[in-house]
């Protein structure tokens, strides 16, 4: 992992005054963040804080009301979603979105083929090249045994992993993951944390996450959103110590570095995160 806050020439991702309102409701208000290369940036905040809207603005799912998005120093605010993705952004959905009727291999192959072929539809991705890359990626997330399963038949946790695999397959410059560990079992979360650390050597990661132990262990820096605004930003330790964050989001118990700061806002993640992550996921268990 890179040292937190290390200065970089051009940030990979930069937003300036990014705002979005839906029919008069302000979902995101003047959010400016700057993420340098190889950083793992976590984005946290209570439900409804505007995290998913914010990432949606970055990848182009929504048009901002105001503000701009820069990627590698280039203003991409006017680009369509698929054009942004092609510049090297990968995105995993908060609500699992895979090709349910296609098998796992084809799901990943679709990501690989697009990344290989790029803008040119006429160019063919070589089948062997695609197959190799798919195998590589599936191996990396641990889904190789399920390559022939229909994505819709996978367990929920495995669908999350498949989403991550589809992102990995694109070898992105910026990897945006919207609650990737939701619904994962404890050992899968361990694997995910290791993967993120490994990835941070080669890519920049924006991680929206509810599972606090995961955030604390993965992130170089954390940005906290609340009711659409950027409330605080800093290293995990700074965020832990930040009083505004404590009262706004983390609530009662922040002092310990254990998993008990997992806020009770995510019923899906809690069963996995709270009891299981405790003994073996604490910082003490780290190498």
């Amino acid at each position: 992992m890179t040292a937190a806050g290390r200065p970089a020439a051009t940030p990979v991702l930069e937003t300036r005054g990014l705002s979005k309102s839906f029919g008069g409701v302000d979902a995101v208000i003047d959010v400016g963040i700057s993420v340098p290369e190889h950083q793992v940036r976590a984005l946290i905040g209570p439900n409804g804080a505007g995290k998913s809207t914010f990432t949606g603005l970055i990848v182009g799912r929504f048009e901002p009301t105001r503000g701009s998005v820069r990627f590698d120093g280039r203003d991409i605010t006017a680009l369509a979603a698929h054009e942004r993705i092609r510049l090297g952004i990968a995105y995993t959905f908060q609500i699992t979105s895979v090709f349910a009727e296609l098998d796992v291999r084809e799901n990943v192959a679709l990501a690989v083929r697009r990344a290989v072929v790029g803008l040119n539809l006429g160019r063919r991705a070589r089948p062997r090249q695609v197959r190799q890359r798919v195998d590589e990626v599936l191996e990396r997330v641990g889904l190789q045994a399920r390559a022939a399963t229909l994505a819709g038949d996978l367990a929920y946790g495995h669908q999350r992993l498949l989403e991550i695999a589809m992102g990995l397959a694109q070898a992105p410059r910026l990897f945006i993951m919207d609650e990737p560990t939701q619904g994962l079992a404890a050992d899968e979360i361990e694997r995910f944390v290791a993967l993120v650390r490994e990835l941070s050597a080669s890519t920049t990661i924006l991680l929206i996450e509810h599972n606090m132990p995961v955030v604390m262990r993965c992130a170089d820096r954390i940005s906290v959103l609340e009711t659409g605004r950027l409330l605080a930003e800093g290293t995990p330790d700074e965020i832990r110590a930040n009083e505004a964050v404590q009262s706004a989001y983390l609530g009662r118990e922040v002092a310990g570095d254990g998993p008990d700061i997992d806020p009770d806002i995510d019923p899906d993640a809690s069963p996995d995160a709270s009891p299981d992550a405790g003994p073996d996921a604490g910082p003490g268990g780290m190498p």
């Binding site: 990848v59 979603a81 090709f99 349910a100 539809l121």
Partner: protein, 313 residues
């Protein structure tokens, strides 16, 4: 196709169709020539409906564009068969490009209605231009004008093999296309458009290309129909001819390469058989269709793929 079995099936089917000429009685080979041309139409429709997941109710526009593109340029311009066929392909591709561009701004039910309206406009245009098209009554293309490389296309045998050649070209090309990266992208859009978009696929452009491909193949079928059977009439531009390919593809198996042919054969003989039994043959046809949709919702080839042959392209 990345699977040898796929190619074997396709080539085997074509071989069987060659053989059919020598084995089947004249009545059936006559039917089969017609069915092959209509199956090309169904295959064209299948690109948009079966693979891309867009329900168009206006494909008669493209079929008629090919039909009249060829018919009028032979009848009134005096073009030869090949240039007329070229005109037909060009016109249907152009119309598909224009209507597709506009219709694809909508989705779902709106897309169905917009395509239906475009096709109705085409139908009314055919009637309006009655001086040349002779409207509902239509016109017959003289046998003397229907020769290609010195071959009389009105001859039963030549007609059968001409239809088969066209079918084979379309059948094999589409099989290759749907298993290419482009074809897989169509399926991705059908299965989950937003995910495809956020994998970086230019969904709008790919859909547009699919409509153009589909419209051109449908136009080729229309042109071949006019050429081989020597007649062009407004019925072929009517809404009925937009619904028929939908039925054929649904019955045969949407999103399969062999489905369109199976569906067209099935439907043709279902009508043929039912009308031998009773004048109210549509009643029997309707019943059979209801049973099929109840018990084989994915169509014949679709169920085959699901139950026995997962490699079916």
């Amino acid at each position: 196709m990345n699977d040898a079995r796929g190619w074997l099936l396709h080539l085997g089917l074509l071989a069987a169709l060659v053989l059919a000429w020598f084995v089947l009685p004249a009545y059936h080979t006559g039917n089969l020539a017609r069915i092959l041309v209509l199956a090309v139409y169904a295959a064209g429709f299948n690109v948009v409906f079966g693979y891309t997941g867009l329900l168009s109710l206006g494909h008669a526009l493209f079929f008629a564009a090919g039909l009249y593109g060829l018919g009028l340029s032979i009848q009134h311009v005096g073009l030869g068969v090949l240039p007329a066929f070229g005109v037909a392909l060009g016109v249907s591709a152009l119309i598909a490009a224009m209507t597709g561009y506009l219709a694809l701004r909508t989705r779902g039910v709106a897309f169905m209605i917009v395509t239906l309206m475009f096709a109705q406009t085409g139908y009314l245009t055919v009637l309006y231009a009655g001086r040349w098209t002779r409207g509902d009554e239509g016109f017959v293309i003289a046998r003397s004008a229907r020769t290609l490389f010195g071959l009389d296309l009105a001859d039963e045998r030549i007609r059968y093999f001409a239809a088969l050649v066209l079918f084979a070209i379309v059948f094999l090309s589409l099989a290759a296309i749907v298993s290419s990266g482009f074809g897989r992208a169509l399926v991705a859009i059908r299965e989950n458009e937003e995910r495809a978009r956020l994998l970086g696929y230019d969904v709008q452009r790919i859909k547009w290309l699919a409509v153009i491909l589909s419209g051109t193949v449908s136009g080729a079928a229309g042109a071949a129909y006019a050429l081989l059977f020597g007649y062009a009439g407004a019925t072929f531009a009517s809404v009925q001819y937009s619904i028929l390919p939908l039925l054929w593809v649904l019955l045969g198996g949407a999103g399969t390469t062999i489905g369109p042919l199976i569906g067209t054969v099935f439907m043709f003989y279902l009508v043929d058989f039912a009308s031998e039994i009773t004048d109210a043959y549509l009643l029997l046809v309707g019943l059979a269709l209801i049973c099929l949709t109840l018990f084989l919702p994915r169509g014949i080839a679709g169920e085959l793929r699901r139950r026995a042959l997962p490699w079916l392209p």
